[in-house]
């Protein structure tokens, strides 16, 4: 508690952990490259340097606020320092901005502009290093790395993986996996959070846009899209739509214009997931085996369990993820020559997630010898495509999804936020539909952005312990407690990315804290707008399970063969 004088104005502070936070709260956007409120303070970039009344300069991220401090954030000296820092960073950085995929979103580029760096006086003496294309999810370009360490810290602190770290020192320092291996040879789960935290183009999404355009150009191909729940509350960011606004109708319209033949909502297969996963859960409860049930929607989490907790492989739900279920269903539907109309089918999955690219390649993502999901693109790639096509997403009129898979429940939509899968399962288990029932479920304890949430519900006289966690470091904590016997759960829902898919590794980047809330709210609001609240009320479920097209095929299409 106390007061500081920042640029001549009195500013109150309470429990802010550093001066930088106080300055930013006062409305001054001091630049940073290595500071992130969710990560440990690193103090490497020195861009947040400020000056005090004695002419002393220091990094404001690493200094606690004290009562009576006098701080200047925009003095001659500080401006000069910052400009020089950026100039030095640029000296050892590839400067092909026009062709860099990160252009327009690159913090280094923005700062060079903002701080008025017009000329770089120093020569680049750094040796050129090869790019790492080994991962299906991300591309690493060491030549664009500025050693801020954000990727290192998010991988270690938030995700608990630690696939990459600094190596060597001084001018030789680099970020790399152990022994300079390829990223695919590490424990990397493809979550893509390193890419979200990377301020430059050193870690970017492995893009599959080219394949989509190619499929769209082919007259003999039917291109079918499925859009994941979390995409709709983030795709509008790049087009000036209000943060977290549900842009589903506009996305569908844009995809139709680009030439997609059919556009579906992955929330439909989220309903299928709940049908199957609830049945599986009840069966396991009855038999008392393979509990706790671990959700299988998140491929990064599934890989994490397989790599780090192999004893719990059997606990993972055998259900395919909504993406894989839907692709298998779509492919099966068009295997019928009547529906195929002589065309080949390509399924394009639009996801907030980079790990989905890996999931689509997994050996168990094939049905009848055919790859279910042909191409996965992320929300970020989708917005690039919309831009390339010249479609003004903000102005386009909404359209609705196509049939026969165009109806979904609100329970399917909230899959995109942590706790959503659990809420959907509980809606399925609890009888009743009314607002009072829905509200009481929502208050059970699965909502909110805490990393680990635990609560109990009573089902048919039995108390069920449920744990909902996001972020793999949190998942590790939960699993270690389960392993040691300290905690006993019946159901564990994990999303690898903190706060769930809305903050996935493939989402558009500039997402401040209020963005996160807005995206979660956007999905809950979308759920609120829907008349169908749970999967059992979705009329298409009956069509699927009892109709001609899929009768008797549910297990083959909806569960992982191994």
């Amino acid at each position: 508690m106390g007061f500081m004088i920042i640029d001549g104005r009195k500013v109150e502070f309470t429990d802010e952990k550093n001066i930088l936070t106080v300055i930013r709260k006062a409305g001054i956007d001091v630049p940073t490259l290595c500071y992130h409120s969710e990560l440990s303070t690193f103090g490497a970039c020195r861009l947040c340097t400020v000056e005090d009344d004695r002419g002393r300069t220091f990094a404001s991220c690493s200094e606690e606020p004290r009562d009576g401090m006098v701080i200047y954030t925009n003095s001659e000296k500080v401006r000069k320092y910052r400009k020089l820092i950026v100039e030095l960073l640029l000296a050892a950085h590839c400067r092909d901005c026009t062709t860099c995929i990160k252009s327009g979103e690159c913090v280094l580029q923005e700062l060079a502009h903002r701080l008025g760096v017009k000329k770089v006086r120093f020569q680049n003496t750094r040796e050129e290093r090869p790019l790492d294309f080994s991962s299906p999810a991300i591309v690493r370009d060491p030549n664009k790395c500025i050693l801020c360490g954000n990727c290192v810290r998010v991988c270690d602190e938030i995700q608990g993986i630690g696939a990459i770290d600094f190596a060597y020192r001084g001018t030789d320092a680099m970020v790399m996996p152990a022994f300079d291996r390829q990223i695919a040879e590490t424990d990397c789960v493809n979550c893509g959070q390193c890419r979200v935290f990377c301020p430059t183009g050193a870690i970017t999404i492995r893009t599959n846009i080219g394949e989509v355009w190619k499929a769209l150009a082919d007259k003999d191909t039917r291109v079918v899209a499925q859009i994941a729940p979390a995409v709709r509350v983030a795709a509008g960011d790049a087009f000036g739509l209000p943060k977290g606004e549900n842009a589903m109708g506009k996305i569908v319209a844009a995809l139709h214009r680009m030439g997609f033949d059919e556009v579906f909502d992955t929330s439909y297969s989220a309903d299928l997931t709940i049908m199957e996963e609830s049945a599986e859960f009840l069966k396991r409860l009855e038999k008392g085996e393979n509990l706790p049930l671990l959700t299988s929607c998140c491929p990064a989490w599934v890989k994490f369990v397989q790599d780090q907790f192999p004893d719990y492989k059997e606990n993972i739900s055998t259900c395919r993820s909504p993406q894989q279920m839907f692709s298998a269903v779509i492919k099966e539907y068009y295997r019928n020559p009547e529906h195929a109309e002589g065309k080949k089918t390509v399924v394009v999955s639009i996801m907030p997630c980079t790990a989905k690219k890996m999931e689509a390649e997994r050996p168990n993502s094939y049905t009848k010898g055919e790859k279910d999901t042909d191409i996965v693109i992320t929300t970020t790639e989708l917005t690039r495509m919309i831009r390339t096509a010249g479609i003004a997403l903000d102005k386009i009129e909404v359209e609705s999804c196509d049939m026969p898979f165009g109806i979904a429940s609100g329970a399917g939509v909230i899959f995109g936020v942590t706790g959503g899968v659990t809420e959907a399962v509980i809606r399925r288990l609890v009888p009743g539909h009314g607002n009072a029932v829905m509200d009481s479920i929502a208050e059970a304890g699965m909502r909110g952005e805490e990393g680990i949430k635990e609560f109990s519900i009573t089902y048919e006289g039995k108390e069920l312990n449920i744990c909902v966690a996001s972020g793999l470091a949190n998942a590790r904590k939960v699993m270690e407690q389960v392993q040691s016997g300290e905690k006993q759960y019946h159901l564990i829902e994990i999303m690898a990315c903190r706060r769930g898919c809305i903050m996935g590794g493939g989402q558009p980047i500039p997402a401040g804290p209020r963005h996160k809330e807005a995206r979660a709210k956007g999905l809950y609001r979308a759920d609120g707008n829907m008349a169908i609240k749970k999967c059992t009320e979705n009329p298409l479920m009956d069509v699927f399970y009892n109709g001609e097209d899929f009768k008797g095929k549910a297990h083959e299409l909806l569960h992982n063969p191994f």
């Binding site: 270690d156 993986i161 630690g162 696939a163 060597y168 152990a178 022994f179």
Partner: protein, 158 residues
């Protein structure tokens, strides 16, 4: 593949310092003390055992010049290139060693695994410049001629 005995040795050393992340550096030092280098597979192994991420262990191992992933020769020769030695022409001493042993900037160890030549920034024996050490034994006031004699002498010993 490393011989099983390496892992047993590592287990002993880890047991001595305790299975905790802070044991990383002492364990690495002791392993290098035993084998004169730090085998990569062993680093992966100890990282797992003491609960440090492999990439972090690699980060530490590459940060300190002292750790080496390459096997070193029986005689590790450190030529001092600190300020005092440098001005008294330590470069010529280094050249003499390299020439005598057929080594280069890229190749630090002889094929017969007898000699490894490195430079160090200061041995703290500036009064004896130019100087070098052979397995921590100091050789003062070196000249290119004395280098040839030293190598011959060491070769004779084995």
């Amino acid at each position: 593949m490393l011989d099983q005995s390496y892992y047993q040795k590592a287990d002993e050393i880890i047991a001595f310092y305790g299975k905790k992340p802070s044991s990383l550096i002492p364990v690495m030092q002791d392993i290098q003390g035993v084998y004169r280098y730090l085998p990569g597979e062993l680093l992966t192994y100890i990282a797992k055992e003491i609960g440090v991420k492999e990439a972090k262990a690699y980060s530490v191992a590459t940060f300190y010049e002292n750790f080496s992933f390459e096997q070193k020769g029986k005689y590790v020769i450190k030529v001092c290139d600190g300020t005092a030695c440098h001005v008294r022409k330590s470069a010529a001493i280094l050249d003499a060693f390299m020439k005598e042993l057929g080594l280069s900037d890229k190749k630090h160890t002889t094929d017969d695994m007898l000699f490894t030549v490195e430079t160090v920034s200061c041995l703290g024996a500036c009064g004896l410049a130019p100087t070098c050490t052979v397995n921590d034994e100091v050789h003062p006031n070196m000249t290119p001629e004395k280098v040839v004699g030293l190598i011959t002498e060491l070769r004779g010993e084995c």
